[in-house]
Symmetry: C2
Subunit: 279 residues, 2 copies
């Protein structure tokens, strides 16, 4: 790129950083790109850093030394998370969303890239600096959420299949019991999908008794992986015993009354923990 | 936001535009945000516009008048598309990727957000200004590609299910015949998923005879929708007659020889058309 003035350089650096979350970019890369001194680049980065902090977009972390550089770490505040989730809650409280079996129709949110990206930013913010290797989910509706999260963490996604499709090569399969329906089901993961001893973040859209998440955890044991965290968008109250602990939820569905068309919905345990911290 | 200097303003405007592709932002929004005159904002936008053009990131389109504003339209050149796809081709030519049935293991690419986003940028660039209402795909492996595409077009995604899950409400189902396996299969779409008379872009990861895509088109007829385009990452040569026409492919798989572990793979018809234009 030819030598350009500071304002143009800043526009270009901003786009470059935003497109590469959690990637370390050496300062020499920018210095050569704009034929500028490293000291000018550092000043530019300082300006961008202040804007990102002011806007709550995340951190611009500078690592010194020969192997150093700058890294954009997307991270939003819990207050911002709460604001976004509260906005969704209002939309989800509409009783026409009630579906048989105590489910809520949420696909209009889960199919909108801007909402999905927001949720991915929330989940990824919770696991900054946890050195996640993979984000894992099970088909189908959790996939967009898992991708959005992985995009900000800059790691690949693992999609567990509920069938055993030909296009994945050899697979590891396990049987699990769905906590709600009590049926034996199968889930499988491509053997090539995951390196052993990896650190994995599990993401899903909905959890009731937690049978599916328990299944994913069991499957991960086959790969000697370490589950660093588990997050769901909605956790629903269940009469069954929970099959998993320590699942972070953004939304909690307490009661669904199909007859009277009533939904009791509230902020999930992430924010309840937060209240705990403040009080 | 308090009044800030030009370079900080430009960092903030750049992030704001990049995060909202295909959204019209009134100039007054920026003017009020930075307590600046509209003329300064226009100058800032001109700087960003030049950087975006220089970097091949897309267009910054300014619409005049009271209902006007500025819109970032991600659009990359065919040359850039070709460069990215050529890079993938090299990785995909590895014979250890061969799977029974003439399939290729591609999940390592399809599971990496940065590759998926690149592919989404390619697909969306081809349909700028086509007023797409939805991007449609069928579960499972096309979902990330569809989301990445939809994110740049700023439209929702429709996911067609191969089963009939409870959490979608009432659905429209059709039977279709998989062109390769000749089996009758079912696909279904939530009735709430799609408004009638919408303009739809179909995205999938792999096409052989095209039975699945034919099925999606038939399903869309039930919603009186208009298929504006169909794109696949890989099209594979098939001895069967093609069930669909005018499918754009990025990669073409000509021959897979499991015995001799050989793959014959090349750039897809998008680039073959491009050569045609140049000659």
């Amino acid at each position: 790129m030819k030598k350009i003035r500071r304002s143009a350089r800043i526009a270009d650096m901003t786009q470059h950083l935003l497109e590469r979350p959690n990637v370390l970019i050496p300062l020499t890369f920018f210095a050569e790109r704009y034929s500028s001194a490293k000291s000018s680049i550092s000043e530019d980065l300082q300006i961008i850093k202040e804007v990102f902090e002011l806007e709550g977009l995340g951190e611009l972390r500078t690592l010194p030394g020969a192997a150093g550089g700058v890294k954009y770490i997307p991270k939003i505040s819990l207050e911002k998370c709460k604001e976004w989730v509260t906005e969704m809650l209002e939309g989800l409280s509409d009783p026409t969303r009630l579906l048989p079996g105590g489910y809520l129709y949420m696909s209009d949110y889960l199919n909108q890239p801007q909402y999905v990206n927001r949720l991915g930013k929330i989940f990824s913010s919770l696991f900054t600096d946890k050195e996640i290797d993979y984000v894992m989910t099970v088909e189908t509706k959790g996939i967009p959420l898992a991708f959005a999260t992985a995009q900000y963490l800059n790691v690949p996604v693992i999609i567990v299949r509920r069938d055993n499709r030909v296009t994945e090569g050899s697979v590891v399969s396990i049987n699990y019991i769905s906590g709600s329906s009590k049926r034996i089901q199968t889930m499988s993961l491509s053997r090539r999908g995951l390196k052993e001893h990896s650190k994995v973040l599990i993401i899903d859209d909905f959890m009731k008794a937690g049978g599916t998440i328990r299944g994913m955890m069991d499957l991960l044991q086959e790969f000697k992986a370490d589950v660093v965290g588990t997050c769901v968008l909605v956790e629903s109250e269940s009469e069954e015993q929970r099959l998993v602990d320590n699942v972070i939820s953004l939304i909690q569905l307490n009661e669904v009354d199909i007859r009277d068309k009533k939904i009791l919905i509230q902020l999930g345990n992430l924010f309840q923990m937060m209240e705990g911290v403040h009080s």
